[in-house]
Amino acid sequence: MKEDNVNIKDPVLSIRNLSVAYDKGNYAVKDVSADIKRNAVTAIMGPSGCGKSTMLRAINRMHELYENIETKGSLILNGKDITDMPTIQLRRMAGMVFQRPNPFPTLSIYDNVIAGYKLNGIRLKKKERDEVVERSLRDVTLWDEVKDTLHKKGTFLSGGQQQRLCIARALAFDPEVILLDEPTSALDPVATSKIEDLLVKLKENYSILMVTHNMSQAARISDYSMFMYLGELVEYGKTKDMFTNPKDRRTEEYLTGKFG
């Protein structure tokens, strides 16, 4: 990997020699190192099965949910090793958005936004709650659409609205990074472009790391791009550089649609 074209000062996240194996010795992510820029959108691309989701999920320690998953290397978030943080703190700092919108079906729109507080038993005053809900929903441009139906179930919304609700749920914790795993792949083009616009706007206040299958999406909204192949980080750099002048043959082949 060519490190020389990414020289990121004060990264929000440093990935150091990260390897993840689902079964012993069989690595889905192999020795990946990268610094992630603050207040920027970083896209992770690569063919199916190359380890994008696996890497992303390592960042907020989702792998701990399952036994037998081995994680090596270190992840430094805001200067602190993530394994030294209590999970709740880490997951407040690194919000996650999944491929399929997954609002809690039993909760209202309002409660979905503050689900992180509610489910963890973090008490907020009514006024604070209202503020968090309004701010988060405004951040994802959902406020005007739902402000009169806040107490309806979140699952009544359209797919795109549900996904924005899920982003709002992550934003309610005021995270450092937002990790998104193909957040638009289950959505139609209109809903997709809304979310893309949103992400570009959100990078003013947050750092965004997003897995995407969609190269034109990466080209449109990301500042930095990673290309992964068979678990390795093949190339990492400014999106513009990577799309105009890929350094690695495999990146070039992927970007020109030869495989993937």
Binding site: M62, F98, T106, A115, L119, N120
Partner: protein, 307 residues
Amino acid sequence: MPLVSSSLNEWGNMNSAAKITVANLSRRTLKDKLFKGLVLFMSLITISPIVLIIYKLVEKGYRQISLDFIIKTPPNTFEAMTALSNGELIPGGIANGITGTLLMVVLASVIAIPVGVITGIYLYENPGKLLANLTRNISDILQGVPSIVLGLIAYMWIVKPITSGFSALAGSVSLSIMMLPMIVRSTEETLKMIPESIKEAAVALGVPYYKVILRVLIPTGFSGLLTGILLGISRILGETAPLMLTALGSSVINLDITKPTSAIPLLIWEFYNDPNMVDLIWSSSLLLMGMVLTLNLVSKRIAARTK
């Protein structure tokens, strides 16, 4: 010219093809009709017992149903005989049976629901573990154990050593063992149906695992759990055999769980053994059937609403 003849030929071919299809079609419609008729007939055979049962129960039982039937205890043989010979309705009711059934069902639920739900959660959480597989299999076997055997067990566990005599507690224990496998199964199946993504959403918010189960999975699957519990209750509501060996029966209303207690099915059995009380069999059965049907309908409703 050749062009015309060839197209004529084709026309002819098409015609014969069409004929064959028509013949096939009528044969097929005939088969179709036969099959549909058969299916309809079989369905009628399936539903006829329940229709006939309900009809019979209503016909023979409705006259005895009144407020007294619910708030009074059964008459003695002499009272019943007198009423019968005067051509009157049998006086009294089955209040002791109703309260006994409610008492034992509630107590059985109090025992079986927490144990069953927690076991179900354990099975869901540890699908491959040896102990989990063992538990699941044993729970399935338990479901097949004849209820009279469960009565015997409760007799040995409770009646002799604990309440030193027949008791509602012993009855409840035998009933709770009957309910248990149904609750375990329905809990596990319900939790399995909840998408993994919902669980991950909670985990990604930093929610500790036990809270994910208590505050996300159980509320999300609540109606499924409730359906399982209601079906379990409707299953034990009419159980007679284990109660004969445990609760025994009582001619008065009893709410002391250490004392012998009546139940609706026990009363039906008692009425059966007394020629003067036969009319009460029908009304008691009607009430019991009504309770079971209501529970079944309610649980169906709940299950349907969540789909």
